[in-house]
């Protein structure tokens, strides 16, 4: 990656090329700087100030926002919410999308039909999916699909989204995201499966490996390593950014319940809800960004991202 930006220079004086480089890259770099780097630095600045309802604060409070954020039970519990959420959603999506890819990949007919069906939910927004889940499948009354089906077996009605013991609301949240994203990761796995050299399977067959579990364990799964690493990394990052479905499933005209509130939802209400505590919200954003960076780096190291070639 490091040397690939350079090609043999065949043309023009250096200054000429530099000018053209910036004509091509300049607009994008300037926009990225203005709308990513400036907000980041501004956020860092704001996080050291008492900034209610204002973006040009005067009252410097040092690490005050950070200590109040980290000692705020609601914020730390939002981090736990994320941890629990990713503990459910990452393995579930990984297993389902890999299983779908393996099954679809071996189909001799209607392969593109099944691929489309599983990929189709990606066309749905989290808002629309939340509506279907909240108002049609998992609503707490008899006319919901889940309660109707359970009713056939004589089970009682369950108020899915407001039952915290046992935490049935997790079932709603996890199945929704599973439905929306499994097809996308299935496509990534399908691409990975296409790249496995058929010679490996031939060799395995010659060695007497039984098709099925043995071949999967010793050939397919190890060959999918690079894809698996990328999928898990993306799943964790995406889980960290969960907002849409939590907001749409759980908040209503009366507000948001104190449970199942991941970090972004909490920051949204802190910084932009009543009170508009932008300083505190910024401190939370900085903490969250640091956590995401650490998790990503640790994960990349752990899985050995970058030395996948060996």
């Amino acid at each position: 990656m490091s040397s690939s930006g350079y090609r043999r220079s065949r043309e023009g004086p250096v200054r000429h090329r530099t000018l053209w480089f910036w004509i091509f890259v300049g607009p994008f770099a300037a926009g990225l700087g203005l709308f990513t780097y400036v907000p980041l630095l501004w956020s860092l600045y704001l996080s050291f100030f008492d900034a209610h309802n204002t973006v040009s604060p005067t009252h410097f409070i040092g690490l005050g926002n950070y200590t109040s954020m980290l000692s705020d039970g609601a914020f730390t519990s939002s981090l736990w919410t994320f941890a629990v959420f990713s503990l459910f959603i990452v393995p579930a999506t990984y297993v389902l999308s890999l299983a779908l890819a393996l099954m679809v990949n071996r189909l001799r007919f209607a392969q593109s039909f099944f691929r489309s069906v599983f990929f189709l939910p990606a066309a749905c927004s989290y808002v629309v999916a939340s509506m279907i889940w909240k108002l049609s499948i998992f609503n707490g009354v008899r006319f919901g699909l889940a309660n109707t089906v359970l009713g056939w077996f004589g089970a009682d009605q369950t108020a899915w989204l407001s039952t915290t013991h046992p935490p049935w609301y997790w079932l709603v949240i996890v199945t929704l995201r599973l439905w929306l994203q499994a097809g996308f990761y299935m496509v990534l796995f399908l691409a990975g499966l296409q790249r496995i050299a058929p010679q490996l399977y031939e060799a395995a067959a010659v060695d007497g490996a039984r098709p099925g579990w043995q071949v999967f364990r010793h050939i397919t799964f190890p060959q999918l390593r690079a894809t698996s690493v990328a999928v898990v990394l993306l799943l964790v990052i995406n889980a960290f950014q969960a907002f849409d479905e939590f907001y749409n499933l759980l908040s209503d005209s009366r507000g948001y319940p104190p449970y199942a509130r991941p970090p972004l939802v909490y920051l949204y209400y802190t910084a932009l809800g009543q009170g508009q505590n932008l300083g505190l919200g910024s401190a939370g954003a900085v903490i969250l960004a640091l956590i995401i960076a650490v998790v990503t780096i640790v994960q990349a190291r752990w899985f050995g991202l970058g030395r996948t070639e060996d």
């Binding site: 930006g5 350079y6 220079s9 090329r17 530099t18 053209w20 480089f21 004509i23 091509f24 890259v25 994008f28 926009g31 990225l32 709308f35 990513t36 780097y37 907000p39 980041l40 501004w42 956020s43 704001l46 973006v55 099954m103 189909l107 099944f114 599983f118 990929f119 189709l120 066309a123 749905c124 927004s125 989290y126 808002v127 629309v128 939340s130 509506m131 108002l135 006319f143 699909l145 439905w179 496509v187 399908l190 691409a191 058929p198 010679q199 399977y201 098709p211 907002f243 849409d244 907001y247 749409n248 005209s253 972004l264 920051l267 910084a271 932009l272 910024s282 954003a285 960004a289 960076a293």
Partner: protein, 293 residues
């Protein structure tokens, strides 16, 4: 991958119990069909509720098929003055189209410059761009909101579109792709006396149509389905996107439930069309996004 090599493999595979193989295959097919049905049910429910009467949806004796279909729900939705459906659809369309064109243009130019124009600090610039991928866009929404409100762009199309145009991910994909673009084509253009600018527009862009289509569709889907940013910036009812409008209905207590469902069904029609028409490109684009290389 050449598939011809399959033949000797099959021949040399030890014979297994044919009945067992067939049973396994049948089991897999049944499982796939069951899963496909499960994946389609939410779409069916959306349509079912959208075309039902209020009574059919909320009846305690719920049935899979509604008693009768009520197509007039669609007209009712667009006639309801309390629901800014037409306006929010228009906003979403404008935003999605502008975001797609802008992102593809800016990111492809930058990707080409990074890949093909020799410049001493090109790699530093590239890493500065790549570094923003580590910062999830959603985490910067608080300071971005602050910036946009300072610019006076709250509840404007500018505020909804411009900050979203600079996708480091799209730039990365284009750069990776242009690194592998056949050099011979460009060399021929050089011989003909074309500079970077005209080489890009006359040779590179026309020969990269599939990638532009793939990135474009992915950006379009993301822009159409975006929620957090439009929610934060589109505070005024006139600036609502269709996702924000839908969300406002569910979290408030205004609309009839059948109207809500038909609104949601209408909101996914553009994307379903894009999906069905361009599916091949989307899949190819996802596959070649290079995230697992």
């Amino acid at each position: 991958m050449p598939r011809s090599t399959d033949m000797p493999r099959r021949a040399s595979t030890p014979r297994r119990d044919d009945a067992l193989v067939r049973a396994g295959r049948a089991l897999r097919t049944v499982l796939l069909i069951a899963l496909a049905a499960l994946f389609l049910i939410p779409f069916y429910l959306l349509l079912r509720n959208g075309l039902s009467t209020e009574q059919d949806i909320t009846s305690p004796a719920w049935t899979f098929f509604p008693a009768h279909l009520q197509w007039s729900n669609v007209r009712e939705l667009f006639d309801d003055p309390a629901v800014p459906m037409a306006r929010s659809l228009l906003n979403s369309a404008l935003i999605a189209v502008a975001t797609t064109l802008g992102t593809v243009l800016l990111a492809s130019l930058a990707g080409y410059g990074l890949a093909r124009i020799p410049y001493r600090h090109a790699n530093k610039v590239f890493y500065a761009i790549l570094g923003t991928l580590m910062v999830p866009a959603a985490v910067t929404f608080v300071p971005s909101f602050v910036l946009v409100s300072t610019l006076g762009w709250i509840s404007t199309l500018r505020g909804l579109i411009i900050p979203t145009l600079f996708s480091a991910f799209a730039c990365f994909i284009f750069r990776q792709y242009f690194l592998g673009f056949p050099q011979e084509l460009e060399d021929a253009a050089k011989v003909d006396g074309l500079g970077y600018w005209r080489t890009y527009w006359r040779i590179v862009v026309p020969n990269s149509a599939p990638l532009f289509a793939a990135v474009g569709t992915i950006v379009f889907i993301g822009a159409w389905n975006a929620f957090l940013w439009p929610l934060v910036i589109g505070q005024d009812k006139n600036a609502w996107t269709v996702q924000v409008a839908l969300s406002t209905f569910t979290t408030g207590q205004v609309v009839n439930i059948h109207e809500l469902f038909i609104a949601a069904a209408v909101s996914i029609v553009p994307l379903l069309l894009v999906f069905l028409l361009l599916q091949r490109h989307i899949v190819a684009g996802v596959e070649r996004s290079g995230i697992d290389d």
